[in-house]
Subunit: 307 residues, 2 copies
């Protein structure tokens, strides 16, 4: 017997576990968007007049983020960073383009290989690939937002991402990371560190996938080849097992963390930031870790060219 | 092909994963006892001249604790608390007696039902059974140790117990519990809170079982009927899965916790302790939680009677 939607006569499209209810496509979409709206309000992520840069990877999370923000009436533009990881990056860029076209939102593309000479994975370094990839992406989307006057950067992190991040850093007791994580990172350093927000903070991966499906959002499914075997996936599975036995586990875990985060902040030494000699962006040393890693001698140019 | 012991020609009795090595029964026993000895030294648990009360439940962990402490030359006596949980408690007491006889160590038995009128599980209360059972056991072994002049109480907690305790309290963000846990709890309040030590703190459950087997230690296997479905077991399984993929996970997790424990201590309000009006033991209120729960009007009498 097919279950019916909690709010109408249609048959159910999805069964939510926490809170437990059956919803049709339309009411699920409504539920999802209202939840994003409330998340934005609860954590004071965005004001209605702010210009928001959504970082779109080609994957589901960022595509859904852009989709919902647009639908909620925010003034958004998108940025795709092509990492230069062969076929994977080409496909990702293609999907990001399709997503933004379908949504009718401007898309800016930055290609790491064109900009820095080498793609992610092509640099000879002892640093792990995922580590300098993260550094590079964070620097580029922040500087892009700063150079072009955006008020905030939105990323697609969902509840599962957050829960597994916290879980992983607890398992390894990387408490400094736990001090800095959260749904909103306020702007700092005269706006040179642009505010970061995560509108899907309280939505599960499963819900995000369902939203994409219900709203015809196409996305690139393949995992980055460098992330293969990452423990994140293992931790997500563990959390999913726990969630299945006790619905609400992930949400309560993340909310509990937010309540206790101050304990980790106590340990944090406020690094004195100064301007990077090369790019002028905030840095703990004379040259920032991005300019140092990529051996830059001039600042990266990320201003949008007038078309 | 049977593997050989790392240290002799005999075939292996056990494969340890962290550090990875094969050992015969004899060399495993030697390894295990040395590790307990080093644990006691590292955490400054016991001095050679101290009188130690080992709380024996009839299970493997406490039996092994008593066995190794005796072998290492400590001055020990044992205490069994019969919880009055029907068949389960009768069996447990029987095993505790056999263990102490085999070891040639004095055993004292305290029976909750005789002492307090009701067994665990028979009290009408809204408090969960495992919660007041824990309260009752902790009070009795502490007061027994105090009344009879012991310098320390040793319990059988092993690495798996500690790891799952920390894991569980992190998942639920019960950070006050995390502030108080550890291999040693020093004596306090003029010795009325007797020092507690966990000599098996760095030994895994699997190693404890193997030690019992190698040394002919019989023990009661049945779980307490009130603990059925306890999440502890689920958390132990999760930790075992992680351990299997990355040997050393549990040990590193627990050691990382000990390094960061001070973060949780920051939150702890030092409760002003005073003497319980009924029993004189340390209490945060006028009457201690034990005397309050059991509605005592006179202190519990736990002095060992001269035989
Ligand atoms: Zn409906
Ligand atoms: Zn720089
Ligand atoms: Zn051997
Ligand atoms: Zn009392």
């Amino acid at each position: 017997m097919p279950m019916r939607c909690k709010f109408c006569e249609r048959s159910a499209f999805i069964k939510l576990h926490y809170p437990k209810m059956y919803l049709c496509e339309e009411h699920f979409t409504e539920y999802f968007e209202r939840k994003v709206k409330r998340t934005i309000e609860r954590y004071k992520m965005l004001r209605p007049d702010e210009r928001v840069l959504v970082v779109v990877s080609g994957g589901k999370d960022s595509a859904v983020t852009a989709h919902v923000l647009k639908k909620l009436g925010y003034d958004i533009e998108c940025l795709h960073i092509n990492l230069g990881i062969g076929e994977y990056s080409e496909k990702s860029e293609e999907y990001a383009k399709r997503q933004c076209e379908a949504l009718g939102v401007p898309l800016h593309v930055v290609r790491v290989k064109e900009l820095l000479g080498k793609g992610i994975g092509e640099v000879r370094t002892r640093r792990p690939t995922c580590s300098y990839c993260g550094l590079t992406k964070r620097y580029i989307f922040n500087k892009f937002a700063y150079d072009n006057g955006f008020d905030a950067v939105a990323t697609g992190h969902n509840l599962d991402d957050e829960a597994s991040f916290i879980f992983s850093n607890l398992m390894h007791w990387n408490t400094q990371y736990l001090a800095k994580q959260g749904p909103v990172t306020p702007g700092e350093f005269n706006g040179k560190l642009v505010k970061k927000v995560k509108p899907l903070y309280e939505l599960t991966e499963r819900e995000v996938v369902a939203y994409a499906l219900a709203n015809g959002i196409e996305y690139h499914i393949e995992e980055c080849p460098h992330a293969v075997g990452a423990t994140t996936i293992e931790y997500k599975e563990i959390l999913n097992e726990m969630e299945e036995k006790r619905p609400g586990t992930k949400m309560n875990f993340v909310k509990g963390y937010l309540r206790k985060k101050h304990l980790f902040e106590a340990e944090l030494e406020r690094a004195e930031l100064r301007e990077c000699r090369v790019c002028g962006m905030p840095s703990s040393g004379e040259v920032c870790s991005f300019c140092r890693f990529w051996r830059l001698e001039e600042p990266l140019e990320l201003m949008i060219k007038q078309r």
